[in-house]
C-alpha cells in the first residue's frame, strides 16, 4: 500500500522519502503531518508532510534517524512499504499575506518549516528564512528554502557553513535591522523553539512554533501529546501542532519528552544487536 517511490539521502542521518498515499496527498495542507508505522511490530510516530503531489498520489517525508523507529525508516529502500500511514493530521497553518515573516528551521525542523515558508511565500509574504544545523553535513533543504525565501541565512554550530552560531544569532541580527516583522515561524528542537520564543517575547512579534511532543494515535485519544498553552490543556495532535510560542510551557514539555529515554535506549540496543547478528 504505502510504497516508497523515491528515497533521497539528505545527510548521513536524514533522508527524504516519497511515499504513496493518494487520499492523504489529495487533502494535505501545509502544517499537516502523518502518523506512520514502519512494520507490524513497529511504533506509531508522527512525521510532517513536507510536500505532496496529488497527481502522483504521493507525499514526501523527511526523517532524521534519532531512535529505533526513525533508524528503521532511515534504512528503508525504494519499493519498501510502510505498514501504516494515516493522515493528514493536525490543524493546517493559517496562511495569509501578513507582510514580512521570518521562518526558522533548526536541524530536521527545517523540513517542518519548509512547507510553511513555501505557502507563506505563495501567499505574497516577504519571507526571510534561517536554517540552522550542527555542521555543513546536516544542513538540509538549502536549495528549496532559498527558492521560497527572499533572503536566506544559514547557521552552523561549528561554523563549517554560513554563520557560526545558533539560529537565534541570525534572528537577532534581523530583529536589530529594524525590519517590520509581522510573524516568526520556528520549528526545531524544543530548546531552540524556547530560545526563539524568549528572543521575540519582548518585542511582541507574533511567534508560532510547531511542537513535537510524543504522540501515539494522533486523533486526540490518548493524551500523550498534551501540552499547556496559556495555562490551558491542549492536545497537540488535534489542537496543534502549531501554537503561540509565547504561551507554551516549554519546561513541562521538555521534561515529558524525556519520559521514555531509557526504554528507547534499550530498543536501540536491540536494533544494533539484530544488525550485528545479521552481519555476522
Amino acid at each position: 500500500m504505502y510504497v516508497i517511490h523515491r528515497r533521497t539521502p539528505l545527510s548521513s542521518a536524514i533522508t527524504a522519502l516519497e511515499v504513496e498515499a493518494p487520499l492523504i496527498a489529495r487533502k494535505r495542507k501545509p502544517g499537516n503531518f502523518v502518523i506512520v508505522r514502519p512494520t507490524a511490530t513497529g511504533e506509531r510516530i508522527p512525521l510532517t508532510i513536507v510536500e505532496s503531489d496529488s497527481e502522483r498520489g504521493t507525499i514526501t517525508l523527511i526523517v532524521q534517524a534519532i531512535g529505533k523507529t526513525t533508524q528503521l525508516i532511515h534504512t528503508m529502500k525504494e519499493g519498501d512499504e510502510f505498514e501504516d500511514v494515516v493522515g493528514p493530521l493536525g490543524e493546517p497553518t493559517p496562511i495569509e499575506n501578513y507582510g514580512k515573516v521570518v521562518c526558522v528551521g533548526g536541524g530536521v525542523g527545517t523540513a517542518v518549516v519548509y512547507p510553511m515558508a513555501k505557502a507563506l511565500k505563495a501567499a505574497g509574504n516577504k519571507v526571510i528564512s534561517i536554517i540552522g544545523a550542527q555542521n555543513s553535513d546536516t544542513v538540509i533543504l538549502e536549495k528549496e528554502m532559498s527558492a521560497v525565501s527572499d533572503e536566506l541565512f544559514v547557521t552552523t554550530d561549528d561554523g563549517s557553513r554560513g554563520i557560526k552560531g545558533f539560529v537565534t544569532q541570525a534572528l537577532g541580527e534581523i530583529m536589530e535591522r529594524g525590519d517590520d516583522i509581522h510573524s516568526v515561524y520556528a520549528t526545531g528542537p524544543l530548546p531552540m523553539m524556547r530560545a526563539v520564543a524568549n528572543q521575540t517575547r519582548g518585542s511582541g512579534i507574533r511567534t508560532v512554533v510547531s511542537l513535537n511532543p510524543i504522540m501515539m494515535d494522533g486523533t486526540g485519544m490518548c493524551g500523550a501529546c498534551r501540552v499547556t498553552v496559556g495555562g490551558k490543556l491542549k492536545f497537540a495532535c488535534v489542537d496543534g501542532p502549531e501554537f503561540d510560542a509565547h504561551e507554551i510551557n516549554f519546561e513541562e514539555l521538555i521534561a515529558r519528552n524525556k519520559n521514555y529515554m531509557n526504554q528507547e535506549r534499550e530498543a536501540m540496543e536491540t536494533l544494533k544487536q539484530e544488525h550485528q547478528c545479521q552481519a555476522g
Binding site: I24, G223, A255
Partner: protein
C-alpha cells in the same frame, strides 16, 4: 429503543428436573487462572465453562413462561431458547439462536455487565444466585470458534445502495452486520490501524483476547463488509465527500468517546502521569507488554496509583499490576457501593491484590526536581446528598489532606467524544458535552447521517452500542428503502 414484544405461548419444558430441584443447584463458577499466577501474564483470566459446567449450569434454568431475562438484555437475546439448546447439546444451534439478536456473542458473553442486565432479573436470582447467562453465551460462542462451525447467515439480494460506517467498535460492527444481511454494500472506515475500537485498544487481553475480537470481526467480513483502516473521517475524507464523491447514501457514526478527561490538578502533566487510554492503548493495541519485541515502550514505576472507579480504572489498575510493581493502588472518591465497574472485575482486582482506597480524592501530584513523581496528595471525602442519578455525592472533609507515596499516576476519570467529526461536519448538532445528538431512532440532525454508541451516549457499554447499532440499522433500512422508492422510475 423499541421494545420488541416478547410473546408468551406456553412452551413445553425440556429439562426433566422439578423447579425445586433446579433451584437447589448452586451457580457454577467458571474455570479461572489462580490470582497469584495470572498477575504475571496477560493470558485470559477466565477460561469460562467447559462442556460439563455448561450442561450443569443449563439445568438450573426454570424455562420460565415469561422469560424476563430476555427483557433484561438490551438486544433481547432469546436466552431461554439458547439455554434449552445447550441442554440438548446443540451448541451450534444455541449460538445461531443468539446471533439472531446479537452478532458479537463471544465479546458480549465476556464483557456485558450481566449483573445489572440479563442476570439481574433472572427468576432463579430471587432465591438463589441467577443463571450464569453471560458465561453460557460465551461458552457456545467459543465452542463455535474452536470447532469452526460458523456459516454466515443468509444475505438478502443486493439493494444496490451503499452505506459508510465510521468507526469499527461494537456499534459500527453491528450496524455493518445488520445492513450487510439486508443487502446493502457496507464499508467501515477506521482511524486506527486495526479494527475493533475499544475492544482492541481499551479492554485488556486478559479480559478479552484479541484473537476473539478478530474472530468476530471475521464473521462481519464474511457478510461482505469491507473494512478500510487508517482512514480518519473528518481528516482523510469528510462526511460530505462520502456522500458526494464516493456515492454512499447513508452514514453511521460509531466513533465512540475516546478522548480522555483530566482532573485539572497541579502536577498532572508530569511525565509519569498517564491517561488510562494511553496506558491501555500502549499495552493492548501496541503490545507494549511484549517490548522490546514490539517497539512501543511503556514506563511504569513501582507504586502506581490509578484514579477512578469504572471499568476503565479497573482495567488500568489490573494492567499495571501485571508489570510487577510493589503496589497497584486504586483511588476512588466515593465508596465501594457507588463504583460503576462490573462486579466481576472488582472481585478479580481484589483477588489480584489491588489496594483500594475509597472516599479518597487526589488534589495535587507532587514532583521531584528531575520531573519524576514524588507523591500524590489526597483529600478524604464523605458521602453527602444523592445527585441526579441517585448516587451519593462525595463531599471533601476539610483539613483531611494526606500524602501517598507513589511514582506513577493514571487518570481513569472518564472520556468524551473527540471533536474531529463534529468540527468538520456542517449541520451536525452536538450537545454541550460534545456528544452527537440523536433521536430515538438514531437519526442525527443531518439527513442520511445516523449515530449511536458512545459518540451519542458519551461512555456507556458494549451492549448498549450494539443495541444502538441494531436500532440505527432499522432506521437506515427504512430511510434507504424510502429513498429507493422515490428514485425508482414510476411504473404504470
Amino acid at each position: 429503543m423499541s421494545r420488541n414484544h416478547v410473546s408468551k405461548p406456553k412452551v413445553e419444558k425440556i429439562i426433566p428436573l422439578k423447579p425445586r430441584e433446579r433451584m437447589q443447584i448452586p451457580r457454577h463458577a467458571p474455570i479461572e487462572q489462580d490470582p497469584g499466577c495470572r498477575i504475571n501474564n496477560f493470558s485470559e483470566v477466565s477460561d469460562g465453562f467447559n462442556v460439563e459446567l455448561a450442561s450443569e449450569e443449563a439445568l438450573r434454568c426454570l424455562e420460565c413462561n415469561d422469560p424476563v431475562c430476555t427483557k433484561g438484555c438490551p438486544v433481547n437475546v432469546d436466552i431461554r431458547s439458547f439455554i434449552g439448546l445447550i441442554y440438548q447439546k446443540d451448541y451450534q444451534g444455541a449460538i445461531n439462536k443468539i446471533r439472531e439478536s446479537n452478532y458479537l456473542p463471544a465479546i458480549c458473553g465476556r464483557v456485558c455487565p450481566q449483573e445489572s442486565l440479563c442476570e439481574s432479573v433472572c427468576l432463579v436470582g430471587k432465591k438463589n444466585e441467577p443463571l450464569a447467562i453471560g458465561k453460557l453465551e460465551r461458552f457456545v460462542a467459543d465452542y463455535e470458534i474452536n470447532t469452526g462451525g460458523f456459516t454466515p447467515p443468509k444475505v438478502d439480494e443486493s439493494k444496490g445502495q451503499s452505506v459508510a460506517v465510521v468507526g469499527s467498535g461494537p456499534g459500527g460492527l453491528t450496524v455493518s452486520a445488520e445492513l450487510a444481511q439486508r443487502g446493502y454494500a457496507v464499508t467501515i472506515f477506521e482511524a486506527l490501524h486495526e479494527a475493533g475500537g475499544v475492544l482492541k485498544f481499551g479492554i485488556p487481553e486478559f479480559r478479552l483476547p484479541k484473537h476473539i475480537v478478530d474472530a468476530e470481526i471475521d464473521r462481519v467480513k464474511a457478510l461482505g463488509v469491507k473494512i478500510e483502516t487508517n482512514v480518519i473521517i473528518g481528516r482523510t475524507l469528510t462526511i460530505d465527500e462520502l456522500f458526494e464523491e464516493m456515492g454512499f447514501e447513508a452514514v453511521y457514526l460509531g466513533t465512540g468517546a475516546g478522548s480522555p478527561r483530566f482532573l485539572n490538578i497541579p502536577g498532572e502533566n508530569l511525565g509519569d502521569v498517564y491517561s488510562a487510554s494511553e496506558l491501555l492503548t500502549r499495552v493492548n493495541l501496541m503490545k507494549a507488554y511484549k517490548f522490546p519485541e514490539y517497539d512501543t515502550p511503556l514506563k511504569l514505576g513501582k507504586r502506581i496509583a490509578v484514579i477512578g472507579g469504572g471499568d476503565v480504572a479497573m482495567d488500568a489498575v489490573r494492567t499495571s499490576k501485571r508489570f510487577n510493581p510493589e503496589k497497584a493502588i486504586l483511588l476512588y472518591r466515593r465508596s465501594r457501593d457507588e463504583m460503576p465497574a462490573r462486579a466481576e472485575e472488582v472481585h478479580h482486582a481484589e483477588e489480584e491484590g489491588v489496594e483500594f482506597h475509597f472516599l479518597t480524592n487526589p488534589v495535587e501530584i507532587h514532583g521531584n526536581e528531575d520531573g519524576s513523581i514524588r507523591a500524590i496528595e489526597c483529600q478524604k471525602m464523605e458521602l453527602g446528598e444523592p445527585d441526579e442519578q441517585g448516587r451519593r455525592r462525595p463531599v471533601p472533609i476539610e483539613g483531611s489532606n494526606f500524602m501517598m507515596d507513589v511514582d506513577t499516576v493514571v487518570m481513569a476519570i472518564g472520556q468524551k467524544p473527540n471533536p474531529i467529526i463534529q468540527q468538520t461536519t456542517p449541520g451536525l448538532e452536538t450537545s454541550g458535552w460534545g456528544t452527537v445528538i440523536v433521536d430515538g431512532n438514531g437519526s442525527t440532525s443531518r439527513e442520511g447521517v445516523f449515530a449511536g454508541g458512545d459518540i451519542s451516549r458519551g461512555g456507556a457499554t458494549v451492549i448498549q452500542a450494539v443495541a444502538d447499532g441494531k436500532q440505527a440499522s432499522r432506521s437506515i433500512d427504512t430511510y434507504l428503502t424510502e429513498k429507493r422508492m422515490e428514485e425508482a422510475p414510476v411504473q404504470n
